[in-house]
């Protein structure tokens, strides 16, 4: 009993008090800053090192929906591409995810997530989500689970993951959508009552990621359904996920 009290006291209060303004560690690879002029050799060489073909040339740009934030391009471009530790990288439109040379974090943030009044009034105080992993490697799944742990405590904002799609306001999808999960995923989506939102988490869901050219995926559903929020990363940091959802539902 005394040990239990000692343990509780030692544990204390570990929740991040201000999730909205908390910074992620310096080493984290978050929003990329591209300065095309810093690399004078052929940009195709930089594009070629990218494992997921996220980099395009003329002009140089990175698609965050494909990027797995591995840092290979940072090394290959002598710092012309630099990953900052800025972590709020989600967007409500896929085309916003393409970062051009010279784009600053502030510029990106200004238009990346559209907070609609209707969404705010409907889900601003309570948002229940059903998570479906469709070929996810358990990386994104672990970070989504971490959003609810004692450190991040997403539940304080009324955002929770629920066990049944019938209880949910939306679906959070991870993984490249394997053939064998395609049916279950679309069934889960159909089981959620309208109006419903769709959140795509991680490079695999958004673009196929490292599994983009696998013959074992079926991306028909994901390519046709309207996705409301794209949260890039491999996997995204819990603070990226939580802030994305809070921005989307218009929480101050």
């Amino acid at each position: 009993m005394l040990d239990l009290i000692k343990l509780r006291k030692r544990h204390g209060f570990q929740a991040i008090a201000d999730v909205r303004n908390a910074a992620v560690m310096e080493t984290h690879r978050g929003f990329p800053i591209i300065d095309e002029t810093k690399y004078t050799d052929d940009w195709q060489k930089v594009a070629d090192v990218c494992p997921t073909k996220a980099i395009t040339t003329h002009p140089a740009a990175i698609d965050l929906g494909k990027c797995i934030f591995c840092g290979e391009c940072e090394r290959a471009s002598n710092g012309a591409i630099r990953f900052s530790n800025d972590h709020k990288i989600a967007a409500s439109k896929k085309e916003h995810l393409v970062i051009a040379s010279g784009t600053t974090y502030a510029e990106y943030r200004a238009s990346a997530i559209e907070a609609r009044e209707k969404i705010h009034s409907m889900f601003g105080r309570s948002l229940k989500l059903r998570q479906v992993s469709a070929g996810g490697c358990n990386g994104c799944e672990m970070e989504l689970a971490a959003c609810g742990n004692v450190n991040f405590d997403m539940g304080r904002f009324g955002i929770d993951f629920v066990a049944s799609p019938r209880h949910a306001d939306g679906i959070v999808i991870t993984g490249p959508i394997t053939k064998n999960m395609a049916l279950a995923l679309s069934d889960a989506y159909k089981s959620i009552s309208e109006p419903k939102i769709v959140i795509a988490v991680g490079a695999c869901t958004i673009s196929g990621g490292v599994f983009a050219d696998s013959g074992e995926t079926n991306r028909e559903f994901i390519n046709t359904v309207k996705i409301d929020l794209f949260i890039p990363g491999c996997p995204p940091h819990p603070l990226t996920i939580i802030n994305a959802i809070l921005d989307f539902i218009g929480k101050k």
Partner: protein, 495 residues
């Protein structure tokens, strides 16, 4: 010579592997396993029309891997090993599914991931094992489960609350990983990242296994400090997951203090990995030829102070958890897997050690940093949820000690060597003790020095059957607890 004996990570020329007739390969593999050796792999390597079947059997006591092969063609048959060697069952099912070689007399050739013999699984009317009788009913769960976890289907045959039988159907996560390795064999950076995603909870485990296989095939030796940093990352991964599992096991028995405290401790560990390489799971750290990030004296100091904190905190939290009567009531004598069963079905890792089977790749087939500091194998006897939880607790403490040894072993040597071309016609077996147990990658290059075959085995492949056996005769409400005590991978199995 019917078999060649090699060591973990020893690259051998393909033509040194003996060729046997298929029946002889089957009989001699079975004999070896009956004499106490362990089946690591039994798979087919297809090249145009020919299939070479390789058998890899571990002689753990002598740190040797025995290898032999047989050249054959699709549609061949042989007498199944499974009736006498249950641990061969999944390997034979996989061989049947991928290479259309039929193990005659196999008791149950159900699909592993894709479908049987080229037929898509959605087109096969699959019949689950079924039971009948008064008050016998079935409970189907999944593929989508109630929490944030990967998909798989569980079919329980119950009598009231009691589970008679559990059938596990996997394959939902199949992403065609092995084929992607072959398809992209000229893109090394891609292959590294792909290996990190075989199972995202075992980034260091799988990526380390893969890059070591590649380095052996290319005949390059990585520096001592790179080996040390890799070992540190692997042990941090083990500690983090074990802590997360203790947190989840506490949650499953409604012991909320344990759930919170172990969860918060896990955060500290993965943040240490993040400080090393910028990712909480260690992505981007390992590369062929070494590591991408070093450990500065300042970072070393930070890691040591985290270890100091963890030493006390883990001990206290563990003592509280394992002296709580309500927790022990749920953990003890729940989900028992007997030692004989453990050996018979070929289990690996902490789950095997919790049932008294002393196998640990770090000790039996040392690699990387463990060459400098031998690891002592830890075992428990009871084989229940308690043992699988407690073994994690003691392994965390052991790993904390290993980390200190390895941190003191850091030297100034170069972090990364340039990868040379892979040698042609080479065969390498790379084994790693990941947090779940033995990870095995078998790499074969062709005459141009290209990857022609990469056979991957996650420890989950060995252990899923144990979950089904552990829950027999248990109440169905104890299933989540039993399942969590193994914490197996779906995508690692499905590939």
């Amino acid at each position: 010579m019917n078999w060649i004996e090699i060591k973990n990570l020893q690259a051998i020329p393909l033509d040194e592997i003996p060729r046997l007739a298929l029946d002889d390969l089957r009989n001699q593999t079975a004999e070896k396993i009956k004499s106490g050796k362990r089946l690591v792999q039994f798979f087919g390597d297809t090249e145009s029309d020919a299939i070479t079947i390789y058998a890899i059997v571990a002689d753990d006591n002598n740190s040797k891997l025995c290898i032999s092969s047989s050249k054959t063609k699709p549609e061949q048959t042989y007498c199944s090993m499974t009736p006498e060697i249950p641990s061969a069952s999944l390997f034979e099912r996989e061989l049947y599914e991928l290479c259309r070689i039929t193990p005659e007399g196999h008791p149950w050739l159900k699909p592993v991931r894709k479908g049987v013999a080229g037929i898509d699984r959605s087109e096969i009317p699959y019949r689950f094992f079924s039971m009948s009788g008064e008050e016998v009913h079935e409970v189907g769960v999944g593929p989508i489960h109630a929490g944030i976890i990967e998909p798989g289907h569980f079919r329980f045959s119950c009598h009231g609350e009691k589970i008679f039988h559990l059938e596990i159907e996997l394959g939902f996560q199949h992403r065609g990983v092995e084929a992607l390795f072959i398809k992209n064999n000229n893109r090394p950076a891609y292959l590294e990242k792909l290996s990190e995603s075989i199972a995202g909870d075992t980034v260091i485990g799988h990526c380390g296994t893969f890059v070591r296989a590649m380095e052996s095939a290319a005949n390059i030796l990585v520096s001592r400090s790179a080996k040390t940093i890799r070992t540190i990352a692997l042990e941090l991964e083990r500690i983090a997951i074990h802590l997360g599992d203790l947190s989840a096991l506490s949650g499953d028995v409604a012991y909320l203090t344990g759930n919170s405290v172990f969860g918060a401790l896990r955060t500290k560990v993965i943040n240490t990995t993040m400080a090393m390489c910028g990712n909480r799971f260690g992505r981007g750290l390992l590369t062929m030829g070494g590591v991408n990030y070093g450990i500065s004296p300042k970072l070393k100091e930070k890691i040591v102070s985290t270890l100091d904190e963890l030493d006390d905190a883990v001990l206290l939290a563990g003592e509280v958890l394992f002296s709580s009567a309500s927790t022990l009531e749920r953990f003890e004598k729940t989900g028992i897997v007997e030692k004989e069963t453990t050996i018979e079905i070929g289990m690996v890792g902490p789950a095997a050690r919790a049932s008294g089977v002393a196998i640990d790749v770090r000790a039996d087939h040392p690699f990387g940093g463990y060459e400098y500091f031998p690891v002592h194998k830890l075992t428990l006897d009871s084989g229940d949820v308690f043992a699988r939880a407690y073994i994690r607790f003691v392994e965390i403490q052991q790993s904390l000690k290993i980390l200190r040894e390895q941190l003191n072993n850091l030297s100034e040597s170069e972090l990364k060597k340039t990868l040379a071309a892979l040698q042609p016609n080479r065969f390498v077996v790379s084994l790693t003790e990941g947090w779940r147990g033995e990870i095995a990658h078998v790499l074969r290059t062709d005459r141009d020095g290209k990857i022609k075959c990469l056979k991957i085995k996650d420890p989950s492949f060995n252990n899923w059957l144990a979950v089904a056996l552990a829950v027999r005769e248990e109440g169905i409400s104890d299933f989540p607890l039993c399942n969590k005590s193994f914490n197996l991978s779906y995508c690692g199995f499905d590939l």
